[in-house]
């Protein structure tokens, strides 16, 4: 780690996928680290104008404001120390609005600034929300279909239906995410490590056991089941995109009054955080960061 002086990590993901909650949760964990291999703050950055108000809201259990696309915050600086090696590092994490990534898909372009970030970043954290559907549901089961139409098959194709025209913004979420990675591969020559973060993992763990097939509790199986196109793409392109999958609940629960009461009743705010990585389970949100930075390639649990 001694040779890591200044690094950057890019957070990417569509709107509402938990990027800001992760960043705030990480900031809290770095002050309350319980994992002996985990990163800790060496000191706080001099400018905490963006993170500090968010951190206070997070600690009160309040919902965080949506990150503005029009006025994106500057990359947040983290000054960290890796206790096992005693080394120090500084890295910058840019928290861009989810709409930025939607806009990239629609306009088929990256801004020059984003392109520079892509080529210079140490690693990418790709956020998916566990409750988002990667794919549009297709009419495959008769229970979802209007059989009256089916019986009049060819003659009256959509004659009186109010069918929405396809526009590019209606593309499925997994198509948008895969396209983002394909765009990155267009301008970046070096391999890029990707930590795939499935956020709101507490919802997966609370799902009834009968739904285990639809909502697997293992992040690898979860992505294979719910985001199959992305799963296949990552497997086929593992040389360009070495990756690891994490289930994360950076907030710890929902926004309901009961949940907020539960979250704020914990003695340590960091206890509400969940991170699942294969068989490993803890609250150390620095785990994916360490992996992206090559600090711990011997994470014990199997993954990918």
């Amino acid at each position: 780690m001694s040779n890591i002086v200044d690094s950057a990590i890019l957070l990417a993901g569509l709107a509402g996928t938990g990027k800001t909650n992760f960043l705030v949760g990480l900031d809290v964990i770095l002050d309350n680290q319980t994992d002996k291999d985990g990163l800790v703050h060496s000191e706080h950055a001099s400018d905490r104008a963006y993170i500090q108000p968010l951190r206070e809201k997070w600690q009160r259990g309040e919902e965080l404001d949506h990150t503005s696309r029009l006025a994106p915050p500057p990359p947040h600086q983290l000054l960290v120390r890796h206790p096992p090696s005693g080394a120090h590092a500084t890295f910058h994490i840019a928290d861009l609005a989810g709409e930025t990534f939607d806009a990239q898909f629609i306009t088929r372009s990256f801004s020059l600034e984003f392109g520079t970030r892509v080529t210079q970043t140490t690693g990418l954290m790709l956020f998916l929300h566990c409750d988002h559907d990667g794919e549009h549901a297709i009419h495959e089961h008769s229970c979802f279909a209007d059989l009256a139409h089916a019986n009049t098959a060819d003659a009256s194709r959509n004659s009186e239906e109010k069918v929405a025209d396809w526009t590019i913004e209606k593309a499925s979420k997994q198509a948008k995410v895969v396209e983002l990675l394909q765009f990155i591969a267009e301008i970046r020559e070096e391999p890029l490590r990707i930590a795939v973060v499935i956020s709101a993992w507490d919802l997966v763990e609370k799902a009834p056991p009968g739904m285990a097939n639809e909502l697997p509790r293992d992040p690898i199986r979860f992505v294979a089941k719910r985001w199959p196109l992305l799963d296949q793409f990552l497997k086929c392109n593992s040389r360009m995109f070495p990756h690891r999958l994490f289930g994360v609940s950076a907030r710890g629960g929902s926004n309901s009054q009961e949940e907020i009461a539960r979250l704020t009743s914990m003695d340590q705010a960091s206890d509400r955080v969940i991170i699942v990585d294969g068989n490993h389970r803890s609250n150390d949100l620095s785990r994916p960061v360490r992996w992206l930075m090559g600090l711990n390639d011997t994470l014990h649990s199997p993954n990918v």
Partner: protein, 335 residues
């Protein structure tokens, strides 16, 4: 006189609204906007654009043009597939199902490794999604303007070699199928037909069960293969798959056995005439999107696997080939 915001409307000059509105036309500009002088647009020179690029622009995500296809063909070995058949025979639905099966992970022997045409795949499946508001699954038809445009897929086998294979798939618009039957010259001019490794010919079973249509459907299949035999530079480099599409029309028909026998007779006839003409001649039945929603993808899986049975042809660019990529289709010695 008020002015209209629609460029083609001459309401300001003639008083006649393009859309037949009177004073309440929503496109009329407020007077204040008309009177406000607009800044003069200074033309941006190409040099300025070159020196100050503002963004990285990527591919469109829509079907590849001949030029884009040619660039891909020149960069790596590619399997090229052309789907042909009459209108509504199910060509586009077949392609839509391939895209859907990769997106839902149900393709068994291959993994999705990438695509330059993700938007095009999303577009053709849109009417089959519940989100679209369509009451039943449907597929947007392929228009004539889309002729010689290509879907792209990059795939990897789930077992064995980790190498990636590029596939380009085009479907001849159904409204062009009669032209192909009537004119060998038309067939010769189709670059996709000249370069294709695989030809998928759709015979529409909804026509085969109709006594008034079935004979012409059968004859058209024979005639088309005959046109290919005569117009293709080397027919033995072409693998042909004849698909009896919309097979559910046969299985649901009252006299199913008779229809199956008719299809078998077509198969034997085509086998007798063209069995030694092409690199391969295979037959299959598929129901890409049955009306009773009993989706079975095994037929599509088999057809797709056949595309990747053979080693993709590498591009051999002759030294006299044009530098214009659109012309480099000629470099394959097919034209």
């Amino acid at each position: 006189m008020p002015q209209c915001s629609q460029p083609k409307c001459r309401f300001g000059e003639s008083g006649v609204c393009l859309e037949g509105h009177k004073q309440e036309c929503p496109h009329l500009l407020p007077l204040s906007e008309i009177l406000t002088p607009r800044p003069i647009q200074t033309p941006v020179s190409a040099t300025d654009l070159d020196s100050q690029p503002e963004s990285h622009i990527f591919y469109t995500g829509e079907k590849l043009t001949i030029s884009e296809t040619s660039q891909l063909l020149n960069s790596s070995p590619v399997v090229m597939v052309l789907c042909v058949g009459a209108q509504w025979a199910g060509k586009t639905t077949f392609l839509a199902r391939i895209g859907e099966m990769f997106r839902n992970g149900s393709i068994k022997d291959f993994r999705f490794a990438g695509s330059r045409t993700l938007c095009a795949f999303e577009r053709i499946s849109w009417l089959a999604t519940i989100t679209s508001g369509s009451g039943r699954p449907d597929t947007a038809r392929t228009f004539r303007a889309e002729r010689e445009k290509f879907f792209h897929l990059r795939v990897q086998r789930t077992e064995g070699s980790a190498s990636l294979t590029d596939i380009l798939i085009s479907d001849l618009p159904g409204e062009d199928f009669p032209n192909a039957l009537q004119s060998r010259e038309f067939c010769v001019q189709q670059r996709a037909l000249a370069r294709a490794d695989h030809l998928v010919m759709f015979i529409d079973c909804s026509s085969l069960i109709d006594k008034a249509k079935r004979h012409s459907e059968r004859d058209n299949a024979k005639l088309f293969l005959s046109q290919i035999e005569k117009s293709r530079h080397d027919p033995t480099t072409l693998q042909v798959q004849v698909l009896f599409s919309r097979w559910d029309y046969v299985t649901k028909a009252e006299n199913r056995a008779a229809h199956e026998a008719f299809c078998k007779a077509i198969e034997l006839d085509l086998q007798g005439r063209f069995g030694n003409t092409f690199g391969a001649l295979r037959f299959a039945t598929i129901t890409a999107r049955p009306d009773d929603f009993s989706v079975s993808d095994s037929g599509i899986q088999n057809v797709f696997s056949n595309f990747l049975q053979s080693v993709p042809r590498a591009t051999v660019v002759h030294s006299r080939g044009s530098r214009n990529p659109a012309r480099d289709f000629c470099a394959f010695g097919q034209l």
